[in-house]
């Protein structure tokens, strides 16, 4: 029971981190109809910028400044890149963001090299918050949960309670009408793109010390983020939240409990072959849940696509 609680917290941290990325991605998607392939790259840039700033000014200034820089860069990409490519259609847009992701990874390697950066959590947060049955929970994890929840509530408040949020929501569905009412829709698009990438930047800043700041970090998380929003339903913010938490808990629990395929197969009624190493099914018998934890999201995605193609919360015509 205690272990379940520990894993729940761990899964929550992963899930909320995923949500910070997928929230921005899904907002951008529902607005412009294009998936930003480079979204995870902005997350990586956030971590690297925060690392560079934290050397000079400390962690907290990094947390404040790095997302701002990333957001401005994102807005620039929308203004000078995507808007130009938009005229060619959605597929070239997707290819553009793919190319951008490649370029940003190369750029990061060019500036910071291929090694992992010594980016650490601030000393003030390096203590054990509390312990559950001997498993200590670091304060930094609680801090991560705290930040993510604040950002989520803030985002929800801005989108549903403020005038700006109303205009954004209107622009998502009826851009032409909103434009006719005198609002600058391209500016709104640029703003939302900037905010979305800034969110990814925040995720990078707080994930960098835990998951490591290295050139492959965008690649590691990138495809999981896409899987998340496909599972949640393209363009649905709630779907992104549910799917993120689902994936977070699923992978954490799969890693924590060593469930063996062997037990499952014997339970069903198969008998284990005598000479396992020569059997064509040997890999099936030796699979354990920690081994497949990282591909569980993909399996879930394929299943969702077969049985519910528009995702958990997606609309039919998304």
């Amino acid at each position: 029971m205690d272990l379940i609680l520990v894993n729940l917290i761990d899964g929550l941290v992963t899930g909320l981190l995923l949500f910070m990325l997928s929230a921005g991605l899904t907002l951008i998607f529902s607005m412009m109809g294009v998936l930003n392939f480079a979204h995870a790259s902005f997350y990586m840039l956030g971590a690297y910028f925060a690392f560079q700033i934290s050397i000079a000014l400390g962690f907290w200034m990094g947390l404040l400044l790095a997302p701002l820089i990333v957001g401005v860069m994102g807005a620039g990409v929308e203004r000078y890149g995507l808007r130009r490519v938009h005229q060619y259609g959605h597929v070239p847009e997707l290819i553009f963001t793919f190319g951008l992701a490649l370029l940003i990874e190369e750029l990061v390697q060019f500036v910071w090299g291929k090694n992992q950066m010594p980016y650490e959590a601030p000393e003030i947060l390096q203590f054990t918050a509390f312990a559950i049955a001997g498993n200590s929970i670091p304060a930094y994890k609680i801090f991560m949960i705290f930040i993510s929840v604040i950002i989520f509530i803030g985002l929800l408040w801005v989108l549903t309670r403020t005038r700006v949020g109303m205009i954004i929501q209107a622009a998502l569905t009826y851009p032409k009408t909103v434009e006719a009412l005198g609002h600058n829709v391209p500016l709104i698009f640029m703003g939302v793109f900037g905010v979305g990438t800034a969110l990814a930047g925040v995720a990078g800043v707080i994930a960098g010390p835990v998951l490591g700041t290295f050139p492959g970090m965008a690649f590691v998380l990138g495809s999981i983020v896409f899987v998340t929003i496909v599972i949640g339903g393209l363009g649905s913010l709630w779907g992104a939240l549910v799917a993120s938490l689902l994936i977070g808990w699923m992978t954490t629990f799969a890693k924590a409990y060593n469930l063996r395929m062997e037990d499952l197969l014997t339970w069903i009624g198969f008998t284990k072959p005598e000479v396992l190493w020569d059997s064509a099914w040997r890999d099936l018998w030796t699979i354990t849940s920690p081994q497949i934890a990282d591909i569980l999201p993909y399996i879930l995605m394929v299943l969702i696509l077969i049985f519910r193609p528009y995702g958990l919360f997606g609309k039919r015509d998304a």
Partner: protein, 432 residues
């Protein structure tokens, strides 16, 4: 339908049409001739290795373009079909009882069938939607299968992959494929065959419908075609040819690893196809040739070639969405008007300084990289056949001035080029 295409040589009009067939055939004949002669021009082994690599990439890129260019479907996981086809072939090669009765040149058929089988399974649910949804599914499935390669050791061989020996097959007219050159001709045979088949496929009603579905799926549906099934057939056909490319990879390198399946490989083929140009059939061919050459040459010269490649790719998407083939075909109207020669001098005036400026910028980039990442105390670097101290001012000033002057001249002469371009594309006696 079929009697529209048959030619009866007894009728004079038909005979003339048969004679006119030579012209569209000429690129194929020239290509076949060139492919046969190439090994006699570039005789050393490394050249043949590069050409093998190139030919395999061409088949793969053409197969990929059946989706991207002709069907409008962007796949981020197409390496999976080539990879699985290759893995299947490697298992056949290692299956003594069967392989010793099988001539090696037949083997790619099995790779193709395997790729096709996998594409049938995946396509059954992934081709429901085009565009973004298809792209995401292809990425997810690609990641899934690539990740499986470490888990399903029996088929994928885990981290070290699987390897085999192609020479154990039934000798094919006495040829045992011991040497690279023999493999080269095998690959070239399959290259020509698959390229012709893919070209013919694009001319069939099926291939034409793929274009229609790409451009306007709704209208195609109203005409009575199921957009989903058209996409599905394109996907399956593309999987077949990708499988052939994978099989040829297995024959050529005799080893397959997880690297043949992963997303990086899928990204590379997207890069190759798009750089070559998705709008024309020969685009991917061009892309594969240029990419393989650039990869081989640049990666020997600089560590930063991936960086340059990324810049070129993003610039292509932004400014020349037609790719190399699109750039070449842009000149056809001027050629038809007989005014292509008028462009020579303006091109030289603009592009030569631009090239010099680019080289200067590249030098700046290289020097920055050297200063940042070379071991401490290592101040010497070699660039453009000159060795100098990267920490002194002079090289920086030279590179900076070269870059600035190059781009300044380009900027100054660009309006003249635009003028010449408009002039060359205007028929005689017509006002613009």
């Amino acid at each position: 339908m079929s009697d529209q295409f048959t030619t009866d040589p007894t009728k004079p009009a038909q005979r003339m049409r048969a004679g006119a067939m030579i012209l569209p055939l000429s690129p194929w004949i020239i290509a076949a001739f060139l492919l046969c002669v190439m090994p006699f021009i570039f005789t050393n082994n490394s050249a043949i290795t590069i050409m093998n690599q190139m030919a395999i990439t061409i088949i793969f890129a053409l197969a990929y373009n059946m989706l991207l260019g002709q069907g409008g479907m962007l796949s981020f996981g197409h390496a999976v079909y080539a990879g699985v086809g290759g893995f299947a072939c490697m298992h056949i090669i290692n299956w003594d009882g069967f392989f010793s009765g099988l001539p090696l040149p037949i083997l790619p058929v099995f790779g193709g069938l395997m790729g096709m089988g996998l594409a049938t399974i995946v396509g059954s649910f992934s081709t429901r939607k085009a565009g973004t949804v298809f792209a995401m599914i292809s990425l997810g499935v690609g990641e899934l299968i690539a990740a499986c390669s470490v888990i399903i050791v029996a088929f994928f061989g885990g981290e070290e992959g699987i390897s085999g020996d192609r020479t154990y097959g039934l000798p094919f007219f006495g040829v045992e494929f011991l040497q690279q050159i023999e493999v080269y001709y095998l690959i070239v045979f399959w290259l020509m065959l698959s390229a012709i088949l893919m070209y013919l496929y694009s001319r069939t009603p099926m291939g034409r419908m793929a274009n229609a579905v790409r451009d306007n799926p709704e209208r195609a549906e109203f005409l009575g075609y199921s957009a989903r099934w058209v996409r599905f057939y394109s996907f399956v056909a593309s999987g077949f040819f990708a499988g052939i490319a994978g099989a040829l990879f297995a024959i050529n390198y005799e080893i397959l690893t997880e690297e043949n399946l992963n997303t990086t490989q899928s990204g590379i083929i997207l890069l190759v196809t798009f750089l070559g140009g998705v709008g024309f059939f020969f685009g991917p061919i061009l892309g594969a040739i240029v990419f393989t050459l650039v990869q081989t040459v640049l990666s020997l010269q600089t560590e930063l070639w991936g960086f340059y490649l990324g810049i070129i790719f993003v610039a292509t998407v932004m400014f020349f969405p037609g790719g190399l083939a699109g750039l070449i075909m842009m000149h056809v109207p001027a050629l038809r008007l007989g005014k292509l020669g008028h462009l020579g001098v303006p091109y030289l005036k603009t592009l030569l300084p631009a090239a010099i400026g680019t080289l200067g910028a590249a030098a700046l980039v290289e020097m920055t990289f050297h200063v940042r990442h070379a071991a401490t105390g290592d101040h010497e670097m070699t660039l453009f056949w000159t060795t100098f101290d990267s920490h002194s001012f002079l090289p920086w000033i030279i590179a900076g001035v070269v870059t600035f002057v190059g781009f300044a001249i380009t900027r100054a002469t660009a309006p003249a080029l635009v003028e010449a371009w408009n002039e060359a594309n205007t028929p005689e006696g017509m006002s613009r």
